[in-house]
């Protein structure tokens, strides 16, 4: 069983939902990333989504775009992100880490090289935002060959046929994008999310995470009522932006947000 499967099995037994924070690796500078990952776990994170910075983040709103720009200014490359995961694994061998990013850095490294390096570093899942299953065959083969879970997005526009197709190749969990828009957008409608999750669960037994539009403890708790996992990104990355240069403050503010979400979700 993979770390991701272990994680969801354990949470299910405890009657809890997964809290999944997203931060961009290397934002605002590389030295903060590994300590921040540990701090987030201590604050109640179950899985960490680590963003791989890309020059052209087409699916991201301004907050995560600027995070990628800050990380790239410090030269954070895909191989540096893998090194951060390897360093994280020296102390934490149980918390799953999912890399989230765009295809091109992986394409340039080569699928097989990337999959092997990711597995060796201790990466558990890979979510490539701009890679639908139609184009994913070769990367899927490489990831599966090294025991890495391919994570896919589902969207409000995804119809039954596509849910079926995506869930057939996904493993670990699937990630439902709660609204039409980019990361950091507003307008979360929990009832429409609940309705869509019913539709999704007709096609799969995989855990379903929900992200986009979750900003605080209340929205996290509301989504946790219907989903298996709550993903929070821009609300955390904003704290990094507001406090760039003050590592302690960044860590404190992010862990505060997560601890409040954790408490509300478990209440």
């Amino acid at each position: 069983m993979s770390r991701i499967e272990d994680c969801f099995t354990k949470l299910k037994a405890e009657g809890r939902k997964a809290l999944i924070p997203y931060v961009t690796a290397g934002d605002p500078e590389p030295a903060i990333s590994v300590p921040l990952m540990h701090a987030m776990v201590a604050a109640g994170a179950d899985i960490i989504e680590l963003g791989v910075p890309f020059s052209d983040p087409m699916a991201d709103g301004p907050v995560i775009q600027r995070a990628a720009e800050r990380a790239l200014e410090h030269g954070t490359r895909l191989r540096d992100v893998l090194a951060m995961v390897a360093e994280f694994r020296q102390q934490d061998t149980s918390t799953p880490v999912v890399l989230m990013g765009y295809l091109n850095p992986v394409e340039v490294m080569g699928y097989e090289t990337f999959a092997r390096a990711a597995a060796e570093a201790g990466v558990d899942g890979v979510l490539s935002v701009d890679l639908p299953p139609e184009e994913a065959h070769d990367l899927l083969v490489a990831l599966r060959g090294h025991g890495v879970n391919p994570i896919f997005l589902l969207a409000p526009t995804t119809d039954d046929a596509r849910i079926e197709r995506i869930c057939a190749v996904a493993s670990g969990y699937v990630y439902y994008v709660a609204l039409k828009g980019v990361t950091g957008a507003g307008g979360l409608d929990v009832q429409s999310v609940a309705d869509k999750l019913v539709q999704i669960r007709r096609h799969t037994d995989l855990p379903v995470g929900v992200g986009f539009g979750i900003k605080d403890a209340d929205s996290a708790a509301a989504v946790a009522n219907v989903a298996d996992a709550v993903v929070v990104g821009s609300a955390l990355v904003k704290k990094i932006e507001q406090n760039a240069g003050q590592s302690d403050k960044i860590t404190r503010e992010i862990t505060d947000v997560l601890a409040r979400m954790r408490a509300a979700m478990d209440a």
């Binding site: 087409m58 765009y102 850095p105 394409e107 639908p132 139609e134 896919f152 969207a155 994008v177 039409k180």
Partner: protein
């Protein structure tokens, strides 16, 4: 008369939008169903006589087609080689080939019941062409444009505003065309229900590369018929500039099966290919995935897209249409590059010798033709796509000569 749009049965791309290993549909999940709906609508209207008749009428009466095929006699004499014929896309309404595509996509948007049009633009030509058709059809129009391009293309920005479009200044990344495209994609994903995204070049996710090509292929269909009529034979070579590559594929596509016709796509060498300051992914880049398709890109060893340079804003783009990537690998077309200085020389030469002021984009094609012609016989024929007029560039040219206009 009904225009025929598709070429031969079985031609590329395949059903998933692949030209060999290139093209495809690399987008976030939210866009996959809307792209399929666009594909279905496009397939349907391609064989719909009402749609095709309306398109044909618009191209004649609104755009001013057919555009002339003009023998540049004095320039040909000066170069002392092959005859140079110019396909005069500069004479279209709005001054460039871009409007061929925006007219087609806007009619499609109307048929699909969309009320809001968005577009990205670099030099502003596609933005102007989009704002123009949106004004005519009474559709709301938003154009994304990099802040750097807004500063260097002030006239086109004002033209778009006069036409009623909202111009959004894109401040992310390098603040140029590639970032405008990112921003338009973000707008589209947010406003999927009422919005139609008119992409201006033969790049992006399937079906855009095929659809934009099909709308631009009227350039080559006309040119082929005109040269047979006016010269009594097919040309020996075609030359067109390539940024994203829509004017080039428009000229090339109807000649692809004419195996004796040599095809040259001209990229922007900027300060020179060896300086790294250029916009020539086919000549000096390598394959990768950006903006929804796999194609040749300007990228670093870590897969980050690098900033490009060209004197011509319309060529200042790090990718290229996937069909060009395929034609390069197949050897059916050759891709070459022309520097800023060479393009400027061609700009001045054509203006002084023929009384035609070309766009700086088109000047790259002209510069290559002026190298090619002297190596060929006087009986031979080169068709150059004069894709746009140079009025928009006079400030750039004047500034280089230290003149304030």
């Amino acid at each position: 008369m009904t225009v025929q749009i598709k070429q031969a049965e079985g031609s590329l791309p395949d059903d998933n939008g692949h030209f060999g290993p290139y093209g495809g549909r690399f987008v976030a999940e939210t866009l996959m169903v809307p792209l399929r709906e666009l594909q279905e609508a496009y397939d349907k209207y391609l064989s719909d006589d009402d749609f095709l008749n309306e398109l044909d009428a618009d191209l004649r009466q609104f755009v001013g087609r057919p555009s002339p095929l003009y023998l540049a006699e004095r320039w040909t004499q000066q170069l002392d080689g092959a005859q140079i014929w110019l396909k005069r896309e500069d004479l279209n309404h709005t001054g460039a080939h871009k409007v061929n595509n925006t007219v087609g996509q806007a009619l499609l948007a109307k048929r699909m019941g969309k009320t809001r049009i968005i577009a990205e633009t670099g030099a502003g030509q596609h933005g102007v062409a989009t704002a123009t058709v949106a004004a005519r059809l009474g559709l709301k129009c938003v154009v994304d444009m990099g802040a750097v391009d807004i500063a260097r293309q002030a006239i086109n920005v004002y033209r778009m505003k006069l036409l009623g479009a909202e111009v959004v200044s894109v401040e992310s990344g390098s603040k140029t065309l590639k970032d405008a495209l990112n921003e338009a994609m973000r707008d589209w994903v947010t406003n999927i229900d009422d919005t139609f995204y008119i992409i201006g070049t033969v790049a992006g996710p399937h079906p855009y590369p095929a659809m934009v090509r099909d709308f631009q292929a009227i350039i080559g269909r006309e040119a082929r018929a005109q040269i047979l009529d006016q010269a009594g034979r097919l040309p020996d070579a075609l030359v067109a500039c390539v940024g994203g590559g829509s004017n080039a594929i428009g000229l090339f596509y109807p000649f692809l099966e004419d195996r004796d016709v040599a095809i040259y796509g001209v990229e922007a060498a900027g300060d020179g290919l060896d300086t790294g300051r250029h916009a020539a992914p086919l000549c000096a880049g390598r394959p990768g995935v950006l903006h929804g398709n796999r194609t040749y890109l300007m990228e670093d060893d870590n897969g980050q897209i690098i900033e490009t340079h060209s004197i011509s804003a319309g060529l200042d783009y790090p990718g290229v249409g996937p069909e060009h990537a395929w034609l390069k690998d197949e050897g059916r077309a050759q891709y070459v590059a022309i520097t800023d200085d060479e393009a400027l020389d061609a700009f001045h030469n054509l203006t002084r010798v023929e009384g035609i002021m070309p766009a700086l984009e088109s000047s790259h094609a002209l510069a290559y033709a002026s190298k090619l012609a002297p190596t060929m016989d006087r009986e031979q024929i080169i068709i150059v796509n004069l894709s746009g007029r140079g009025d928009k560039d006079i400030h750039t040219v004047a500034a280089l000569e230290g003149i304030k206009v």
